[in-house]
Symmetry: D2
């Protein structure tokens, strides 16, 4: 961390600041320039808040040198994290596809889709039981019944299940869920993250609509600091000025996250653009840049889906998608 | 709602779509253009999800005509909502200031600040007991002890208290809190919103970092649809590409929200820019455009604040701020 | 185009509006709803400005149904445009790579790089003679000497050259240039666009930092409407809140542009992120989603480059990149 | 400037980097930390490009300490710049209003509006002769005839005129114009900026749609570095994700620009939101935060305006606006 001092900063105040920092166990190093002087901090600055130091009267600005995350940082954990879910591995040289409907709607619907996507190559079943909807008047999911139906589909197909949690209050209902998803809108629901840190289940953590990669990693850090190191990061599109697509897939996020962190990174090509026909190109881009997998919305009757039909693809389209992806995944050095 | 059909859309499919919409209780009206045809929907489309209709094969796009919110909509509730908190009114011709530290740190700190801000003209005391922090290593607040200290400060000064809730699990601790704040990061924590809809306490709902005004109003609608109509909206800066300020205060949000909704709208000039000296101009801008009040961070020793010191002003600066604001508030036709 | 009327709109005023629109040669069709009425416009609305109609007192909002661009629109020109530059084709089933340094610095530099990139598979040479730099104190290019050196490198290698124009005043200097580039900052320099529309040279039009795809196509339309239909669109990253990369590559722009327009679309993976090691993954993503080519910065000594060294790759890295891209390009159905 | 070195950076390479920097006339100062080492640069770093240093293999990141602009920097020019246009002063304690139609349409229109806005208190007449329009099919202005009509209106009313330049090629036509405006889309048209730097006329420089304040100041620096120090900055709304308003007025830009620069700063409340009824609150916000003036679109028949009618106010509304602004301007310590 580097502290830039104001011009003509009061020397006594600067001395006091140096002492305060040294009291935190850090060494300081002062460089006096012509117009401005700076203080270099040596030691572990992870627990220092740059904004708090900025509040000091003699400080003009503070610039971080180290990343503020530790457990998620590849610098301290060079090998890829590989997460094992009932024998199916996420991360490393594996490319896994999670597929299923936006919402669980009925036993027939979820079981049929589960069979279809398994046959095509999906290794996990997704389906929403609790649905975050912008409007209180929209379908909110089948709740515990939805989870029961997912478990039935798992029984039938053997596919481990992935479903979203929206509240700590529901955590007991997720006892048999294989991977718990934290949605984009809850990426900074810190109480939920802390609670999931006490779980031993893998957590699929989606990037928030307007959250930086550093914030995403800090949210992963919340879960990991509470004891659960099984975090899967997910890029799902960010909010920009562009309106032709619902969100803008930040494709650079995948190599960047994999460079600075050891956690697996998957992509959600369905929410990324919010348009069914764009799922295929976005999925291909994800495979090409080295993503560790995908989470894709598949519905047997998109036009009648109770939610997100606009971005769901049919089982037939999904089957073609997986076929088209195989050679791309192989080129990236992974196995689908 | 207007549905734009694809060119050469299959007539049978269009017929089916018309029937589906009519089954939802709406009338349809078709306009056949040279290149594209459109369907106009007549009736209450609040409960129809545009994206679901977009999933239909014959549909090119859907455009909303009506706002998707009803209870928060000024069209159906022309008079300003005025919320009464122990005799102090928010909304209408009142301009109220909520002031206090980012975090409650100690009995002395919160009581001293409470007395100071009351003397200067604040009518509510704010203070964080549960703190949403980006880093798990940062100070997270005193939790229930923080709320107890706020209540002691209320006893001493008579100021009603405003504090943030981060989880449904904590709701019992908020039994004696006067106004419950929902932070920007929880604006779309829909489970929390629904729960707060069952409360009878006023809810101060902050706009999310990257949420549109329509989404803010839909979140207010969640609370209102569950039975609690006492919602105060708060603009606190949005995330943009600009890095000179932490966020960008969307000053146009205030007149726009007051135009389309009857709910009171206040401004947080502290989080808006994240810089102490900018609190004053941002507060003045808020008063000039007709905001119903402010929520301001005041700390007796910003450089030693356990959080957000960078954006906190001293009690002396707050005193001057209120004095400077009075004539501006009067020009806006309100009373401070 | 659909016009949404205000509630209780004055009938006489609405009548007047209907007449005004009919005077523009369009048919109108009124749908009276319970809360709001709408007017559907039938005919060619390309030349109608939605904002002008919005200025009318009785109008609440206007929604476009048709795209505002015609010449660039695939609806009226179904086949891919293929542009021929001295026998080398851009568009259709071709995947072309344009490579070279950010700036032309010397005869040795540009000729050496030209030979290197040609050997590796580039079919065009790029190099800046006029450089748009944020700072007036930064190197601004060699100007006409730069163009001369590019032409010498062309003579030596046979590679057609691509270079950026920054002002109409320089247009005569571009007489022997093969492809004229319009940079992101000039995408809406409409006077320049109109002038280039009178040229017969292919124009490589880069998307502005914060311009929508529709605006990009409208800028292409400017060139085309002035008579020059040889426009190549280029996605080069947009400005978002994320700071880990200089820009955010909008990978969805490629399939979206190719869906709505017949013009070729290439990608600039160098400016997209501003980081040399990310050129490779971004280039792969571009190939995977069906881009028609790349424009890549290659420098023989990036650390000593007079501009943009941070994002330039070495000739060796470029050689490996092309090799890695070949199978991906083939999978997309194109030929490199 | 602070250079952060990669971990385990090659010592020889670091030595070479140190020498390279010292060759540029700067002193270097090395701080070796536990995980990373940094180099502090002492001296004038204005002319060093951070990205170029980033290209060095041993460098992880570069952080600026000083602002990259000098002539526009208040640190080196503490007093407000006050620009005198035929006796009317912009900057300092003056609050000036520039008003007039988006486009000059006819002699009657521009003269009538000029008289109206003068009577109400405007001290400058604005009017577009060259109009930057997104669509090539939209009205592009009356060009030189437009400027002639503006000059006639000036003769009639005595109001100095402000009008936009779109191309260096037109500069002779601007010989009698009093203030030359550079529009948002040309803020980084560097060739135009350099040319205007050779003029002695005041330049009204608008912030680009997605340009940072630092970039705006660097564009001012371009003009100033070429010899023309009469630059007026203009905030006119930036592009964000919000769609309720056309742009988002960055109200914090005004105090921030005035803090870091000595140049006058005015606000365009018409383009800021693109909505006529929001001109008033945005203008009030501008006055409240200490802006040096406004540029406002006024049209005698907005619904029939050839451009931007949606955001134009009538002469009557303008008259009321000025009256309402007076007390606000006085509170800010300025004179209208």
């Amino acid at each position: 961390m580097v502290i830039i001092l104001k011009e003509h900063a009061n020397k006594g105040e600067v001395e006091k600041l140096l002492h305060d920092i040294q009291d935190l166990g850090l060494n300081t190093h002062m460089i006096e320039g012509e117009q401005s002087s700076i203080i270099g901090l040596i030691g572990d600055t992870t627990k220092i808040n740059a904004d708090d130091i900025s509040a000091n009267d003699v400080v003009e600005a503070v610039r971080r040198v180290q990343e503020p995350y530790k457990l998620a940082n590849r610098k301290f954990h060079q090998d890829d994290t590989v997460i094992d879910v009932e024998g199916t591995k996420i991360g490393g040289t594996n490319f896994q596809i999670i597929a299923g409907p936006c919402s669980v709607e009925s036993r027939e619907q979820i079981t049929e889709i589960a069979k279809d996507v398994k046959k095509s190559g999906a290794r996990f079943l997704r389906g929403g039981a609790f649905k975050p909807r912008t409007s209180p008047y929209a379908f909110q999911g089948l709740h515990d019944d939805g989870i029961k139906l997912l478990l039935e589909a798992k029984k039938e197909t053997g596919l481990p299940i992935v479903t979203e949690i929206m509240s700590i209050a529901h955590i007991d209902l997720f006892a048999d869920v294989d991977v718990i998803q934290v949605g984009a809108r809850n990426m900074q629901n810190f109480e939920l993250l802390k609670e999931l840190g006490h779980s031993d289940k893998p957590i699929l953590l989606k990037r928030g609509l307007a959250n930086t990669l550093e914030e995403l990693l800090m949210s992963a850090e919340y879960i990991m600091a509470s004891g659960n190191e099984n975090v899967i990061l997910c890029e799902r599109g960010i909010r920009t000025f562009e309106t032709a697509t619902r969100n803008t897939l930040d494709i650079s996020a995948i190599p960047m996250l994999k460079s600075v962190s050891h956690l697996p990174v998957i992509v959600d090509p369905s929410h990324a653009c919010g348009i069914a026909w764009m799922v295929e190109p976005m999925a291909k881009a994800a495979a090409a840049v080295g993503a560790d997998g995908l989470i894709v919305e598949v519905h047997n009757n998109p036009a009648k889906a109770l939610c997100d039909g606009k971005q769901s693809i049919t089982p037939e389209a999904f089957d073609k998608l997986v076929k088209d992806l195989r050679p791309l995944v192989e080129l990236s050095g992974k196995t689908l």
